[in-house]
Symmetry: C2
C-alpha cells in the first residue's frame, strides 16, 4: 500500500467509526504530515482520494470537513435485557478471567488493567520506594479508618474537575474501587433486595449483588447515552428497587458517557422514588477530551449518591487503592469499611497523595489518555480491516476498553478456541446477570502493537472458521 493510501485509509477508519462527525473539521495538512511523518503532497493526495469517494469536502481557506454518509450503523444494539429481577450467575466465567491474570505466554486482551509502562509513573514508584524504606511508627501502625487525611484532601481537590463538591471528611479510602462498590451495596441492601443496573454492566459489581443475595434488574442501555431512563422509571414503579447501580462515565464495557442532561434526570428520578444511586466512576478521569465529564454525584443535593472510584484504572491496579464518598450513608459505610478490611494500607495512600499534590497525576493522565486514543484509532482500523463487516463496535469517549458485537457468534466458545491459540478476551456473558451478550466481547486497548494485531488476526480466523462450521451444520 502506498503512503497516501495508508493515510487515506486511516482517516477513512476514523470517519467510519464516528471519530469525526458530519460537519467536523478534519486535521490540517500540516498536522497530518507530523502525525504520519509524510510529505505535504502525500496528505494532499490522500485528501483528494477521500474527497473523490465522498467522505470529505474541501472548503476554501478552512480545510477539509467530514460529510454525512449513508453507512450502516457500526454501534452495538441498544441492549434489551429481560426486564425482571434475576439472580446473578456467571461466577465461573469471572473466576476464569481473573485467575488468568497471571497466566504466562497468553495475550490477555480480556483484562481491565491500565497501561503501567508510562514514564509518568516513575515519581510514584520513587515515592513508594522511599516511604517503605523509612521506619515510622505512624506509617507502620493501623491508619485511621477514614484513611490518610493527606490523600483525602487531594481527592477532595481533584473532585472539582468533575464538578463534585466534596470535603475530605466525606471520603473513605478503600482497598480498591471493588471494596468501595461492595461497601456501597452492603450499606444499602439486605438479602433478597432488587438493584437496578445498566446492562451490560461491570462483572465485579454484578458478582457483589450475587454475594449479597440480591437480584439484578438489568435495564435497556443505549451504547451512546447509557441506561434508559424511561425503562428505569417503569421499573421503579413496578419493583421495590433499593439502589440503582451505574457506571455513567466512560462506561465499562461500552465506553459511553451519559450526557449531562441524562445524569441530572437520573438524580431527579432517584429523588422522586427515594432510591439511592451507586455511581462507579473508576474510569471517569480517563476522558479523551478535557474537561472530564461531571459525575452524577455533582447533581446530588441530598446525599443519595454513593460515589465509588479509585486509582486501579489510572495508576497501578496492584496498589489496591480506591475510595467512596457515601453521602448520607457515611456512618454505615464506615462500619462496613471497618468490618471489611479495617484500615487501608498506609504507604500507598501517602505515596499517591504526594504524586497527586505535586501535579504528577494530571500529567500522567494526559499521557495515558493520548496513548489510549491513539491505540483506539489504530485498533478500530485493524478491526475494520480484519473482522467481519457486520460486527459492531463501541465508540468509547474515554477509558481503555472496547466492546465488539459479533452478530450471532458464540463468544464464550470463541474465547475457548482463542485460548488454545494463546489469546484471551472477556466474553460478553460476564457483563450480564444471566449470560446475555453471548455474541459480544470486551477487549483492552492499552496496547496496539504487532502482538495485538496478531491476536486480532487469530480472532478473525476463528470467527471465519466458526461461521463456516455453523453454516455447514445448518
Amino acid at each position: 500500500m502506498k503512503r497516501y493510501e495508508q493515510v487515506a485509509q486511516a482517516l477513512r477508519r476514523r470517519l467510519e467509526h464516528g471519530f469525526y462527525q458530519p460537519g467536523d473539521r478534519l486535521p490540517s495538512i500540516r498536522d497530518l504530515c507530523t502525525e504520519f511523518a509524510v510529505s505535504v503532497s502525500t496528505v494532499q493526495t490522500a485528501y483528494a482520494e477521500l474527497e473523490a469517494a465522498g467522505w470529505v469536502a474541501a472548503r476554501p481557506k478552512s480545510g477539509y470537513f467530514a460529510l454525512a454518509r449513508n453507512r450502516p450503523g457500526t454501534l452495538p444494539a441498544v441492549s434489551r435485557p429481560a426486564q425482571q429481577p434475576l439472580e446473578v450467575s456467571q461466577w465461573d466465567q469471572v473466576l476464569a478471567l481473573v485467575n488468568e491474570a497471571q497466566e504466562q505466554g497468553c495475550l490477555l486482551l480480556g483484562g481491565g488493567s491500565p497501561d503501567t509502562t508510562a514514564d509518568t509513573l516513575k515519581a510514584l514508584r520513587r515515592g513508594l520506594s522511599r516511604l517503605y524504606q523509612r521506619p515510622s511508627s505512624e506509617q507502620d501502625n493501623y491508619d485511621s479508618l477514614l484513611g490518610s487525611p493527606l490523600l483525602r484532601r487531594q481527592l477532595a481537590r481533584l473532585a472539582g474537575a468533575s464538578g463534585t463538591v466534596l470535603h475530605e471528611d466525606d471520603i473513605v479510602i478503600t482497598s480498591g474501587c471493588q471494596e468501595a462498590l461492595s461497601i456501597a451495596i452492603r450499606t444499602l441492601t439486605r438479602p433478597g433486595d432488587v438493584v437496578a443496573v445498566d446492562s451490560p454492566s461491570f462483572y465485579g459489581s454484578m458478582q457483589t449483588l450475587k454475594a449479597c443475595g440480591l437480584k439484578a434488574l438489568e435495564l435497556p442501555t443505549d451504547p451512546q447515552t447509557g441506561i434508559s431512563l424511561e425503562a428505569l422509571e417503569l421499573a421503579l414503579e413496578q419493583w421495590p428497587i433499593k439502589a440503582i447501580q451505574v457506571t455513567p462515565t466512560h462506561n465499562n464495557p461500552l465506553g459511553y458517557t451519559m450526557p449531562d442532561a441524562r445524569k441530572r434526570a437520573l438524580v431527579a428520578l432517584a429523588q422522586r422514588f427515594d432510591v439511592a444511586i451507586v455511581e462507579d466512576d473508576v474510569y471517569g478521569d480517563l476522558a479523551y477530551t478535557a474537561p472530564r465529564p461531571r459525575t452524577i454525584k455533582s447533581w446530588d443535593d441530598d446525599g443519595r449518591v454513593l460515589l465509588c472510584s479509585g486509582f486501579s484504572k489510572t495508576l497501578i491496579p496492584s496498589l489496591r487503592l480506591g475510595w467512596i464518598a457515601p453521602g448520607r450513608h457515611r456512618d454505615q459505610a464506615l462500619h462496613m469499611k471497618y468490618v471489611s478490611t479495617g484500615a487501608t494500607a498506609t504507604v500507598p495512600q501517602l505515596a499517591v497523595a504526594e504524586f497527586v499534590e505535586q501535579g504528577y497525576y494530571e500529567r500522567h493522565l494526559r499521557q495515558v489518555v493520548r496513548t489510549y486514543q491513539r491505540n483506539l484509532d489504530r485498533i478500530l482500523g485493524w478491526i475494520h480491516a480484519l473482522l467481519p463487516a457486520d460486527c459492531a463496535v463501541s465508540r468509547p469517549q474515554g477509558g481503555f476498553v472496547l466492546w465488539i458485537e459479533l452478530k450471532g457468534l458464540d463468544c464464550v466458545r470463541l474465547n475457548e478456541r482463542l485460548r488454545l491459540r494463546g489469546v484471551q478476551v472477556a466474553p460478553g456473558v460476564l457483563f450480564s446477570a444471566s449470560g446475555k451478550y453471548r455474541d459480544c466481547l470486551r477487549i483492552n486497548i492499552t496496547r496496539a502493537d504487532a502482538e495485538l494485531y496478531a491476536g486480532l488476526e487469530r480472532m478473525a480466523d476463528e470467527i471465519v472458521a466458526m461461521r463456516g462450521e455453523q453454516q455447514a451444520s445448518e
Copy 2:
C-alpha cells in the same frame, strides 16, 4: 533499691503472676547473673531473701524451686455472659478506639499494634522498597485472586510449626486478618443467624457479626483455658448455631492458649453438631515458649475449620496482609474475597514471601517475643506496685495484650478521664456484644518504658479518685 533487692523483686513478681508454678525450677544463678548483669553474690543474696520469705526452696545440687503460697488469685474471673443470642452494640466505642490510632501526643495503650521498631524488620523494608522501585507489568497488574503463589508456598511451610497441614492452594491471601474473618463469617451465615463466640472476644469479629445482621451468643470463657466446652455443648443443643468463632491461641484480649485437649474436643463437638469453626490465629505465632501451640485446624479432618491469620500482629499492620484457609468452604470464600476487594496488593505479598523464605520472619519473631516477655514481666511488676491489690490481671502465654479487671470500676469512665490526661486504653465493653466487662480494660505491652510507667501511674491516680468519689456518693 539495692541491686539484690531489684533481682529479688523481679523474681517475686514472676512468682506472684504465676510465671513459675509451684514445683518449677527457677533460673540458675549463672543465668540470672547474665540476665540482670549482676554478680553471683548479688543473685545469691536475692535468692536467700526469697527463701526467707517462703517464696522459694533450695534443693542441694538442683538449684531453687518455686513453693506454693496462699495468695489470692490474681486472674480475672471466668466470664459469665448472658447465655442468649444478642445483637452486637458498642460500635461507637470501637470507632473511637480505631480513630484515635493517629491521635498525636496521646499515649495509646489501647491499640492492637505490635512493636515495629525492631531491627529485624529492616530486611522487609528493604524488600518493599526495592520491589516498588522496579516497574514490572506482572507486579503492577491485578494479582490472581488466591494471591501470590510465592507467599502461599511460604505460608503452607510455616503452617507446619502449628501442626497444620496446608497446601498452597488451600490458602487465600487477604487484605489483613480482618478481611479473612469477614470472609469466613459471610461465607458461613445469613442475616439472623447465631454465632457462638468466646467472651470477651475481639471487637473486630464482633462488629462483623453486627454488620452481617447476626446474633452473638457469648459463652463463658476461662481466662486460662478458653471457651467453656460444657456451656458450648448446651448452647449447641439449644440454639441453631451456624458457626463457632474463637481465638484459641494467645487469645485477644485474655492471652490464654486453650490446652490441646480442649482444642481437640472443640473440633469433636463441632463435628457432632455439624457446625463450622472460625479460628482466629493472628497472634498464634507470638508464643513465649517454643514450639508455638497447635491450631484447632490441625485437628480438623473434614475441612470445617476456617483458619484466619495474617501479619498485622507479627510484622507491620499497615501492610494489610492476612490469609484464610477456608477448608471445604474454599469456593464460596473465594467468591467473597473477589467481591470484598478483588485481588490483594501484590508487592507486600512478594516482599513478605521473600522475608519468610530467607528466614528473617522466624528471627524477627524470636526477637519481638523476647521483648514482649520482658515487657510483660516489667509491667506486671508495675501493676502490682501501682494498681489496687484487688485488681486481677491475665496471664498471657503469648502476644502483647494484657487484660486488667478492676472490680466494680467503670472503665469507660476511667478511659474518658485518662484521655483528658493523655492516656488511652481499650475499655472492656468493646469485647462484648452488649457492653459487658465494663470493669475491665486491655492494654498493649509492646512498650514498657518510662512513659508507660507514667501512664500506669495516672491510671492508678484516677482509680483512687474514682473509688473515692464512689464511696463519697454511697
